[in-house]
Amino acid sequence: MAKRKTPMLDELENGKWPSFISDIKQEAEAREKTNVDLQAPKEVCNDLLDILELSYKDREGHWKHGGVAGVFGYGGGVIGRYCDQPEQFPAAKDFHTLRVNQPSSYFYKTEYLRQLCELWERRGSGLTNMHGSTGDIILLGTTTPQLEEVFWELTHNLKQDLGGSGSVLRSPNCCIGKARCEFACYDTQQACRALTMEYQDELHRPAFPYKFKFKFDGCPNGCVASIARADMSVIGTWRDDIRIDQKAVQAYVGGEFKPDAGAHAGRDWGPFDIEKEVIDLCPTHCMAWNGEKLGINNRECNRCMHCINTMPRALRIGEDTGASILFGAKAPILEGAQLGTLTIPFMKIEEPYDELKGLIEKVWDWWSEEGRNRERLGELIQRMGFAKFLEVCEIKADPRMIREPRSNPYIFWKETDVPGGWERDIKDFRKKHQK
C-alpha cells in the first residue's frame, strides 16, 4: 500500500487491461513482507507511485535533467535518474535504469528469469520493463552504489552483459526468424547475435557522433520494424521464384484452408475469393488465376509478402534467399523522421558475415569522420548526398535505390566526367562572344 493516497493512479486499476498500477502495488507489498536483505530502499515502489501521482496532479515530470551514472570500463548501459523532490520521496531519490542485453528474439528459460529477478529484487526496485523499445531488458530503478554490484553479479553469475546507451552501437534486435517462422529468409537471430558479439567495443564505449542501431527482419513483413527504427536495417528477401503448391491453392479456394491462417476469423468476410483477396491486391499485378492454377510472373514480383501472408500453406519464399540492406531511419529530431533507404538490394547473409561487416565498417568510418556532433547517419546522408554515400559503400547506383528520378535539374557533375574540366579563361570566351 502506498503511504500517501493515489486517487488518480487507483482509477487505472479498473478495466480489463493488465494494470501497471496494480502490479507496482503488488511489488510494493511484496517488499514490505519479504525477508530478503534488500539493498535498494524498501519503500522504492511506494515512492515511485507517489511521484507518479504527483506528476499526474501537476501534469509535469518530476525527474531531474539528465544524470550520468555507469560502471567502470563502459561508457554506457546505465541511464542515471534523480527525482527532483528527494526530501519528499527519499526511497526513489536516485532511480537509475540498467539496460541488459536481451537474447535474440527474447527466448528465455524460467531458470534465467528467476536468477535475474532474484538479483533485481535484492539490488534494485523489483520493477522492470520487458523490454525497452530497442530490445534490452530494462531494470528500472536502483541506487548509484548498487550499479557495480548488479553489474558484477550479472557478469559473474548470470554470464550476462549490459546493453548500449549513449553515442554507441545500441543493442541490436531481431524478429523471431527461423526459430518459429516459415517466412524467414535468413537466420536473424544468429546474425543479430554474431554482430552483437563482433561489435562489443562499439556497443559499450561511445565513439560515434551519435547513436547507431542495427535491426534484423527475416522478411519484408518487418516484425521488428527495422525499416523505421534502425540506422541499418537488414530485411530478408529472395531473388528466385515463389514456390507454389497448386494443390494447397485449391484447398484455399475450396475453403479447406483459412486465408491468412485465420487472422480475420473474428468477422464474417464471406468465402475466400482468391481473385479479390490475392490477385487483385497484388501491387505489381503479376499474378493470375485461371480457376485451376495460380501463376506468378516472378520477374515482376516485388516480394511484398501479401500473397504468401494470405496463403501461407500454398506459397513459400524462394530458395535463393538473402537480405536487402537499408540505411538511415530515424525519429524526427533534428531534420525530420526518416525510413531506411534501400542501399544494397540483395546480399547473402551467411556466417561469418564478412560482406556485411565490411559494409558496416565502411559506413562507420565515413560517418565517424564526417558526422557532426549528434548527427544521425540518415541526416549525414541527406547533408552529403546519397551519391556520396554510395561512393563510401563502394557500390554502383541502381534504379532500385530510388522511388523516382529527381524532378529538379540541379545536377552536380564531377570535373573528371566533363571534357575540358572547370578551368576556363574568360578571354577565350570573349574571342567568340563580344561583351
Binding site: G66, A69, F72, G75, T144, R205, P209, S368, N373
Partner: protein, 106 residues
C-alpha cells in the same frame, strides 16, 4: 546541492559528482578526485595530457570535444583513454577536468 570534500576543501557537485563551480577547479581537485573515478595513485603525464586538452578545448569552444576529435588530437586511442579513465572520457576525464555534465541521450 551535495558537497564533496577533496583534499580538505569542499566543492559543490551535482548528484553525479560533476563540479558545479567551474572556476574552483584546480589540479589538486583533479588529483583528489581521481580515486573516486577508479584511478589509483598519482595522475600520470598521460592523464594530464587528456585533462589539459579537454580544458583547453572547453575554454576555446565552450563544449567538450567529440570523442574522435579527442583521440585524434591527443594521439590516445579510445582503449587507452579507458585504461587511463575507467569510467570513460565523458564520465571520467571530463569530470576530473571540471567540465559540466554531458547531456542528451545517454
Amino acid at each position: 546541492m551535495p558537497q564533496l570534500e577533496v583534499e580538505g576543501k569542499a566543492y559543490e557537485v551535482d548528484e553525479d559528482g560533476f563540479l558545479q563551480e567551474l572556476d574552483k577547479w584546480s589540479r589538486d581537485f583533479a588529483q583528489g578526485y581521481a580515486a573516486i573515478e577508479g584511478i589509483e595513485g598519482v595522475l600520470t603525464e598521460e592523464h594530464w595530457k587528456l585533462i589539459d586538452y579537454i580544458r583547453n578545448y572547453y575554454t576555446q569552444f565552450g563544449i567538450a570535444p567529440m570523442i574522435r576529435k579527442m583521440c585524434k588530437d591527443t594521439g590516445l586511442s579510445l582503449k587507452q583513454i579507458y585504461e587511463l579513465f575507467p569510467s570513460g572520457p565523458a564520465k571520467g576525464a571530463c569530470k576530473l577536468a571540471g567540465l559540466s555534465k554531458p547531456t542528451g541521450c545517454v
